[in-house]
C-alpha cells in the first residue's frame, strides 16, 4: 500500500493564483470574532444570569455553571466550525444538512431556526423595554425626581408598555433594513461600542467599590433595605437561591447562559468562497465562547465581591431589577448611573437585528428555491433589500412580541429546546459528513482522523451528547417554560416538524405548476 502522510514541512511551496475574480482576502480575525460575540451578547447574558440564575436555582454555583455551560456549548460550536471550514459559504445549517443528509431535512432544520428567529423577535424587543428603556427612565427619573420619566419607565415595563416600545423598535429596524443595510451597519458599530462602555463602567465601578459603599448608595437610592426585610421580600417572591451545592441546579441555572453562548457559531452564516480562508472559522467560534464566558466570570466575581451573589439573587427576586440597575443605584453619582443605564440600552436588544436579517434572508432563499411564494424573493431594485420578506418578519416579530408580553407560557427560554433539536440534526450531519460526502471532506482542511475515525464525526457525536444534556436541562428547568406545559412542548415539536410539511406542500404546489421541487436538490451523476 502506498504511504501517504500529511504533515507540516520545513520548506513550504505555495500556490499561484491567476488574475481571477472572487479571490478576496480572508476576513480579519477580529471581524469574525466580533461578529460571533455580537450574537452571543455579553450584556443580555449577564442580565439574564443575574436576574434568574442567582435567584431561582437552589445550591447553584454560578462559576461552575458558567464553566459547565461552556463545556456543553463547545462541541456544537466545533460542529459548525468544522462545517464552515469544509463548506465555507452562506447558509450554514440549511446547506450542511441538505447536502449531507437530505434536502427535506435541511428545510426542516433551517425552517426550525427561521421560525424561532421569527418568534424570538418578540423576546429581545421586550427586553429593550424591560432591561433598556424602562430601567433608564425609572432610575434616572427617581434620582432626579422627574415624574414623567418615572411614569414612562414604569409603564415601559408593563405588558402593554413593553409591547408598544418593542413594536416601535421592530418597526424602526425593519424600516432601516428596507432602506438598506449601510445605514444599519453605520449605527450598529457605534451602538456596540456604547454598550461596551456601559459594561466597562460597571466593571470599573465594582472593581474599586466596597460592599459598604454600594449598600449605602443602593439603600439610599431605592429605599430597599438589605438584610431581613430583603430576605422576606425575596422569599415571598420565590427566591430559592443559596444552600448547599447542587450539581443538578447548577447545570439547570446554565440554561440562561446557554441561550446566549450557543450562538457563538453565527459566523458560519458568512463563509467565503475560497477555502484557504476557512481555518479562521475553526478557532474563532470557540474563542468567542471563551471570551464571553471569561467576561461573565469576571462580572460574577466582581458582583460577588461587591454585592454578594446571594444578595444579588434576593434583589432580583424581590425587585426584578436588572444588574445594570443594581449597579447604577449603587453609585452616588446620578450622571454615572444615567450613563450606565443609557449606554446599556443598545445591548438590551442585541439579538434582534440578526434575527430579523437572518429570517428575512432565509425567506428569500426559500422563495428562490420554490419553497415559498415568489413575492418573498423580490429584492427592491432601489434599496437592494427583500422588502416583502422584511415586512413579513417584522409583522411576525410584533405578533410574537404580543405573545411574549401577554402569554405567560411563552417564556424567554421556551424556544431554545427547539433550537437544540435543530442543532441535533446538524450534529448528526457532522457525524455522517465524512462518509456521505467523502470528496468534500477529503478536500477540506479538516480531514483529520484519530484512530481512523474522522475527528468531525467524533465532534458530532460529542455535540449530540452535549445537546442531549442541554435538552434535558431545558425540559426540566421550571423557568424554561416547557416543564409541565403541554402547549409549549407541542409548540417546539410542531415547529420542528413543520419544515418537513412545508417542503412537501411546496413540492405538491409546484408540481401542479409543472415544476418538480425535488429535482431542485437532486445530484447529477458524475460518470
Amino acid at each position: 500500500m502506498t504511504e501517504a502522510t500529511a504533515r507540516t514541512t520545513a520548506v513550504a511551496p505555495r500556490m499561484f493564483e491567476r488574475q481571477a475574480t472572487g479571490l478576496v482576502r480572508q476576513a480579519g480575525a477580529l471581524d469574525v470574532l466580533v461578529y460571533n460575540m455580537n450574537f452571543v451578547s455579553i450584556g443580555l447574558m449577564s442580565v439574564l444570569v443575574f436576574l434568574y440564575s442567582t435567584a431561582f436555582y437552589p445550591g447553584a454555583n454560578l462559576y461552575v455553571m458558567a464553566l459547565l455551560t461552556f463545556a456543553a456549548v463547545i462541541p456544537t460550536s466545533l460542529v459548525f466550525a468544522f462545517f464552515a471550514a469544509a463548506m465555507p459559504r452562506s447558509g450554514a445549517d440549511y446547506v450542511y444538512v441538505s447536502r449531507t443528509l437530505h434536502p427535506a431535512l435541511g428545510m426542516m432544520s433551517s425552517w426550525n431556526n427561521t421560525a424561532w428567529w421569527f418568534l424570538y423577535g418578540g423576546v429581545p424587543s421586550a427586553f429593550f423595554a424591560y432591561f433598556g428603556v424602562g430601567p433608564f427612565f425609572s432610575v434616572v427619573g427617581e434620582r432626579t425626581s422627574t415624574d414623567w420619566m418615572v411614569r414612562f419607565g414604569n409603564w415601559s415595563q408593563t405588558a402593554l408598555g413593553a409591547f408598544v416600545v418593542g413594536s416601535i423598535l421592530i418597526a424602526t429596524l425593519v424600516v432601516i433594513f428596507i432602506l438598506g443595510l449601510r445605514l444599519f451597519f453605520r449605527v450598529q458599530n457605534l451602538l456596540f461600542a456604547l454598550g461596551l462602555v456601559a459594561f466597562l463602567l460597571i466593571v470599573f465601578t465594582w472593581l474599586f467599590q466596597s460592599t459598604e459603599t454600594w449598600a449605602g448608595h443602593f439603600t439610599a437610592n431605592t429605599g430597599q433595605a438589605l438584610g431581613g426585610e430583603l430576605d422576606k421580600a425575596a422569599t415571598d417572591a420565590g427566591y430559592v437561591g443559596g444552600g448547599p451545592f447542587s450539581l443538578k441546579w447548577t447545570f439547570l441555572a446554565g440554561t440562561w447562559v446557554y441561550i446566549n453562548l450557543v450562538f457563538n457559531q453565527s459566523s458560519a452564516y458568512i463563509g467565503g468562497e475560497v477555502r484557504r480562508a476557512s481555518r479562521l472559522q475553526l478557532w474563532s467560534m470557540p474563542i468567542a465562547a471563551i471570551v464571553t464566558t471569561g467576561a461573565l466570570l469576571l462580572l460574577l466575581g466582581l458582583a460577588d465581591k461587591v454585592v454578594g451573589l446571594d444578595t444579588f439573587g434576593k434583589i432580583a427576586a424581590a425587585t426584578g431589577l436588572p444588574f445594570t440597575s443594581v449597579a447604577a443605584q449603587g453609585v452616588g453619582s446620578t450622571v454615572l448611573a444615567a450613563l450606565i443605564l443609557a449606554l446599556f440600552i443598545p445591548w438590551s436588544y442585541t439579538w434582534l437585528p440578526g434575527q430579523i436579517l437572518n429570517a428575512s434572508r432565509n425567506f428569500l432563499a426559500y422563495s428562490v428555491d420554490g419553497l415559498m411564494p415568489r413575492k418573498l424573493g423580490e429584492v427592491n431594485p432601489r434599496t437592494h433589500t427583500p422588502i416583502y420578506s422584511l415586512l413579513l418578519v417584522g409583522a411576525g416579530s410584533i405578533g410574537a412580541l404580543w405573545l411574549f408580553t401577554h402569554w405567560d407560557a411563552f417564556a424567554a427560554l421556551v424556544g431554545i429546546f427547539g433550537f437544540i433539536l435543530g442543532f441535533g440534526i446538524v450534529s448528526i450531519a457532522a457525524i455522517a459528513f465524512p462518509y456521505r460526502l467523502p470528496e468534500i471532506f477529503e478536500s477540506s482542511p479538516v480531514r483529520w482522523r484519530v484512530g481512523g475515525i474522522p475527528v468531525m464525526s467524533i465532534v458530532g457525536g460529542c455535540s449530540l451528547v452535549a445537546l442531549g444534556c442541554m435538552a434535558w436541562a431545558f425540559w426540566t428547568d421550571p423557568s424554561a417554560g416547557i416543564d409541565g406545559k403541554l402547549s409549549t412542548k407541542i409548540l417546539n415539536f410542531a415547529i420542528f416538524g413543520s419544515g418537513l410539511v412545508i417542503y412537501f406542500v411546496a413540492k405538491a404546489v409546484q408540481r401542479s405548476r409543472g415544476l418538480d421541487v425535488s429535482q431542485r436538490f437532486k445530484e447529477i451523476p458524475v460518470e
Partner: protein, 313 residues
C-alpha cells in the same frame, strides 16, 4: 425546447462532468455554459526527493509519498477548482522567481485541461443530439478560445448570434471592470458599444436570449461584497457590506432590446431571478468548490418562456 444553463465552474472537473450529464438528467435539448470555465490557481506538487511530493493545499502544507498518494492529492486539488502541477524543486524555484515563465506554465496547464474537458464532452455527448454551447467568461484567458473553437462536440457562441431552435442566442463573455483586472474586461462605454454591435446582428422577429456573462447593474443578480483596494471585504458591524457590481452597459442593452430571457453568471453569491424592463434575467449562482453545479432549467415554447426552475445538481 428545454434549456439548461450554468456557469462559473472555475476548473471544477466534477462540475464539468455534471454539466455534460445535465442534458440527460433534466431532459434538456440545449446546454449552455455561460463562462468562467477555468481554475483560479496553480498548485505545484514539488518533488523534494524521488517519489515524495510537497504541496500547499488550502493553506495547509502536505507531503505525500508514492504515485498513488500523489494522484489522490492531485484529485483533491482539482476538486477545489485548482490545477495541480508536478515539478522539481528547481522548476518550483523558477516558478517563484520568473513571472513570465509562471504565466506560460499556467496558460499551458489551463489549455491542456480545457482540451481534456472538450475531449470528455465529445466522449459523453457523441451519441446524443443535444446542443452544447460553452463560452469563456471574464476570468478565462484568451488561449482557451481556440480550444473551444476547435472542439467537435462543443460550440463557442461568444461574440456571436447563433440560432438555437426557434430562438436566437446572443452571447458575450466580457464584463465591466473588476478589482482583479481579469482578462476580459472593458470600460462600460466600450462594453456597451461591443454589445450594441452584436445586437445589430439580431434577426428581427425572432425571440432572443441574451447569454451575457455579466449581470445587469442593480438588478439584484449582481450583489457582492464591497472590497477595499487590497481586496479585503468591507465589513461594518461584522457583516460584509453588499453592493451592486453588475454592468450598466448590460442593463442598457437589455432594456433597449428587450430579449425574452437574460442568462447571467459572474456573481456567484447573487443567485436569483429579476425582471429588467420586460426581460426575465436569471443568475443561478455558483458553489463549484463543493463539487455542486448551480443551474437553471428553462422551458420555452412558441416563442414564449413557459417556466424556469433553479436546480443544484
Amino acid at each position: 425546447m428545454r434549456l439548461y444553463y450554468a456557469g462559473d465552474i472555475h476548473g471544477s472537473e466534477k462540475c464539468w462532468r455534471k454539466f455534460l450529464n445535465a442534458a440527460a438528467f433534466y431532459e434538456a435539448n440545449v446546454l449552455v455554459l455561460g463562462g468562467d470555465l477555468t481554475g483560479k490557481a496553480l498548485v505545484p506538487l514539488v518533488e523534494r526527493r524521488p517519489g515524495e511530493w510537497a504541496a500547499n493545499v488550502l493553506g495547509r502544507q502536505e507531503v505525500v509519498r508514492g504515485e498513488e498518494a500523489a494522484a489522490e492529492l492531485e484529485q483533491r486539488v482539482r476538486f477545489n477548482g485548482f490545477y495541480p502541477y508536478r515539478c522539481s524543486q528547481d522548476e518550483y524555484r523558477r516558478l517563484e522567481a520568473d513571472v513570465a515563465y509562471r504565466d506560460d506554465v499556467v496558460q499551458r496547464v489551463t489549455r491542456d485541461e480545457v482540451e481534456r474537458w472538450t475531449a470528455l464532452a465529445e466522449e459523453k455527448l457523441n451519441q446524443s443530439d443535444v446542443r452544447c454551447l460553452v463560452m469563456p467568461g471574464n476570468d478565462d484567458e484568451f488561449e482557451i478560445d481556440e480550444v473551444l473553437d476547435a472542439a467537435r462536440r462543443v460550440e463557442n457562441p461568444d461574440g456571436r448570434v447563433v440560432r438555437v431552435g426557434d430562438y436566437q442566442l446572443l452571447s458575450s463573455a466580457w464584463a465591466n471592470p473588476t478589482p482583479w483586472d481579469s482578462p476580459r474586461e472593458l470600460p462600460e462605454d466600450e462594453l456597451e458599444a461591443k454589445l450594441e454591435a452584436l445586437a445589430a446582428e439580431l434577426e428581427p422577429g425572432v425571440p432572443a436570449i441574451f447569454n451575457l456573462h455579466c449581470p445587469p447593474y442593480d438588478s439584484g443578480l449582481d450583489l457582492a461584497a464591497e472590497l477595499t483596494d487590497d481586496l479585503r471585504v468591507v465589513r461594518k458591524g461584522g457583516e460584509p457590506v453588499i453592493v451592486p457590481v453588475g454592468s450598466t452597459a448590460v442593463r442598457a442593452v437589455i432594456e433597449r432590446h428587450e430579449p425574452l430571457l437574460g442568462l447571467h453568471g459572474h456573481i456567484h453569491e447573487s443567485r436569483g431571478a429579476a425582471t429588467v424592463g420586460r426581460t426575465l434575467c436569471l443568475n443561478p449562482g455558483s458553489v463549484y468548490a463543493e463539487g455542486v453545479i448551480d443551474g437553471v432549467v428553462v422551458d420555452l415554447d412558441g416563442g414564449s418562456l413557459i417556466r424556469h426552475q433553479f436546480v443544484q445538481g
